[in-house]
């Protein structure tokens, strides 16, 4: 071998840009601050979200939405701060002049550092997603992983690293990294204050996983498919933002050849255009009837079809059937409704089945949302009573006994009232019979939820309970006395009387004094 032959062997290696880029990326991966920040981000996620997410019911929609919000917030500061720290590296180590004379253009070097930072952030994030989804897969009784929320949260990480990295590169100061880390949290956590109603541009924020005024809603995505409209707009915004920021890094004079800078201008403009379009699209969103944000330009009408499922049914006198996603609630629901169902089973007009139904959502003035059933509570032949489980509604997580208590005190009276025809405008006899049956079933009929109010309810406009609020008759009143008297009858006598007179009672032809 001669001395002149040695360079010839190394020439093919250096002429393969893909290989050298991979080598540069490998070097950056090995010397990246995000590698050491990963435990911090993961620990923050588990401290603030792990316990909370695992305590929620194993419903894919609920866990995916909670995971997304918590992951973005937990990763925001460490990821943006680490990226800024990496952006500061050349300035911090006073190597700017040294690396500027290397063969590789400045944008390529910067992108390699950014890519390595983003890779580690995504690895940490995917580990968290994997654990949450893995545990949920073992616990969930129906459905499958919702990928769009995970993708939208994942898309936030490249954007955060790009913003942090750009800040560190362009403003090299010891204050830059902490400022970026805190600003990322501040902007993400508190920007949602600006959301008002479903048609808000701020919904493009990556932490918005559901109609913001609604909060985490277990009922969304179980009866109807999860709508990807808002996540698509968010991913579009985040991708556009990432591209625009990275393009802007190649804009300064000295960043590279003129052709590189021209390309950077085009890339930056395209990124800004995509981000702007996404913001505009998010502003056209509206709350649809299934509790999700639909964006007309991105909406697929096929998503509005209800999901097919085989309900899981119990073995009470009147079967209680639930969506399989809520199968874990069946024993408690059955136990709560058994006394009530025993009172009405076999009576003329009694429902043949109690079936869980999807809630209907309606945007109301301001940030309030009305949730209820569409159409009458009882329909079909044989009649089926449709109900909304309290577990379907947004609100704080409750224990099994709290759930059972809510079912007994809200759905129980509604079922009895649907048989007796009780509700606003009903006769005092109907009211007394309803109260008597509830007394015998040991249900305290405090009220039946009224429709038309911006709160969750289990009745619908046009149903027997529409427009009113059922309140148990006050003790000492004639209605209460009649109810007490009727409830004191032997069950067989009461049932025989109801069998004969229920149709007349429902028609309002029976007076209070005619009750036995």
């Amino acid at each position: 071998m001669t001395a002149t032959s040695a360079p010839a062997r190394s020439a093919p290696v250096t002429s393969r840009p893909g290989l050298s880029t991979a080598r540069l990326l490998r070097l950056e991966l090995r010397h990246n601050a995000m590698l050491w920040m990963m435990p911090v981000a993961v620990a923050l996620f588990w401290v603030t979200a792990g316990r909370k997410i695992m305590a929620t019911p194993p419903l894919w929609s609920l866990r995916a939405a909670n995971m997304r919000l918590s992951a973005v917030l937990a990763f925001a500061s460490p990821v943006a701060g680490a990226a800024a720290w990496m952006g500061l590296r050349e300035s911090r180590r006073r190597t700017i002049d040294l690396v500027n004379i290397t063969a590789r253009p400045r944008p390529a070097r910067l992108f390699a550092t950014w890519a390595a930072t983003t890779c580690w952030a995504l690895v940490a994030y995917l580990a968290c997603v994997g654990v949450v989804y893995g545990v949920t897969a073992q616990q969930a009784t129906w459905g499958g992983p919702l990928w769009w929320p995970a993708v939208a949260a994942g898309a936030a990480l490249p954007a955060l690293t790009a913003l942090g990295f750009a800040a560190g590169t362009l403003v090299p100061s010891r204050f830059t990294a902490p400022l970026v880390a805190l600003a990322a949290f501040f902007v993400l956590a508190l920007s949602t204050q600006l959301i008002n109603g479903s048609q808000s541009y701020w919904q493009v924020s990556p932490i918005v996983a559901w109609p913001w005024e609604l909060g985490p809603d277990p009922g969304v995505g179980t009866f109807y498919a999860y709508l990807p409209d808002l996540p698509i707009a968010q991913v579009m915004f985040l991708a556009g933002l990432t591209v625009a920021v990275l393009g802007a890094l190649a804009l300064p004079t000295g960043a590279g050849a003129r052709s590189v800078r021209r390309s950077a201008v085009a890339v930056t403009a395209a990124g800004l255009l995509a981000a702007g379009t996404a913001v505009a699209l998010a502003g056209t969103g509206r709350l649809n009837a299934h509790g999700m944000i639909a964006i007309p330009a991105l909406h697929d009408a096929a998503s509005d079809r209800p999901l097919r499922y085989t309900p899981v049914c119990g073995h009470t006198a009147i079967p209680v059937c639930l969506n399989p996603a809520y199968a874990s609630y069946l024993p408690a629901t059955e136990a709560a409704l058994t006394p009530v169902l025993g009172q009405i089973a076999g009576l003329p007009g009694a429902p043949a089945r109690i079936s869980q139904a999807a809630a209907t959502y309606r945007q109301e003035p301001g940030n309030s949302v009305g949730i209820g059933l569409t159409g009458p509570a009882t329909s079909g032949s044989p009649p089926v009573f449709r109900m909304i489980l309290p577990a379907q509604l947004p609100g704080p997580a409750t224990t099994a006994s709290e759930q059972a208590s809510q079912v007994r005190s809200t759905i129980g009276p509604s079922i009895v009232a649907s048989v007796t025809g009780d509700g606003p405008g009903a006769s005092r006899a109907q009211h007394a019979v309803t109260t008597a049956l509830l007394m015998d079933a040991r249900v305290v009929p405090r009220h039946l939820l009224a429709p038309g109010t911006p709160v969750a309810r289990n009745s619908a406009p046009g149903s027997a309970l529409a427009g009113g609020r059922y309140v148990a008759p006050p003790p000492g009143s004639p209605v209460f006395a009649a109810a007490k008297r009727f409830a004191a009858l032997p069950a067989s006598v009461r049932r025989a009387w109801l069998t004969r007179h229920l149709a007349a009672l429902r028609a309002g032809h029976i007076r209070l004094g005619q009750l036995p």
Binding site: A33, M37, V40, L44, V47, T48, L73, A74, S77, P78, G81, W85, S91, R92, R93, R94, S173, R174, F175, A177, P178, L179, A181, L182, F185, F186, A189, L190, Q193, P396
Partner: protein, 228 residues
Amino acid sequence: MTRGETRSVPAATARAAAPWMTGPRRAGARLVRLYATSRRIPAAVAAIAACALGLRLALIGHWDSYGALQLPLVFETAAATAITVTVASPFGVPERVTGRWLPYLRTAATLMLTAAAIGALAAAGTGAHLAGGTLDVLRNLAGVTGIGLLCAATINSGLAWIGPAAYLMPGAYALYTQWHHPALTTPWLWPARPPHDLGAAICAGLVFAAGVAVIAARGARDPVGEQA
């Protein structure tokens, strides 16, 4: 030459090199000025002022319960981080072995900046609804600054912001759990405790005292070959 003799050499050299100094007071003032400049203390003061201004402007807006509670904590953390950043030394070991006033300068700078930050943030909340009030600002800022100082002494002076930034998240989450139970009530998450809570004040005070003591005694851990 003994070790005691070598110590006297720099002092004599300093006097010879700076004949315009007329006394120890002037030399002390110059030392303080040089220390402040090397630690970017003027920039930190500006950052604290910016935090106070930001808080004041933010308090003008309308916030829901979560936002109103979490808002001061964000600005308190930002001010604490600005204080933490000033402990990084651009000189490293040479300064440590020659500067016998360093522990006092570090302590004084940290305490003065903390006091300034507390005063600025409390003033920013005057006349507005500052959740928790001045006592909350005092406790939270001192505690979070302590976390930052401990991080500067143990991890890296440049990366000391990790501690306050990381603490912000559980702190804000603990505030959130006051509505969404189970609430986090440990006094180590002091932002979620009421302003008059003694346990939280003790925890924050301990962390701050530990941070100041460690920084005064050892200084920040400055990476070799990096510009602070």
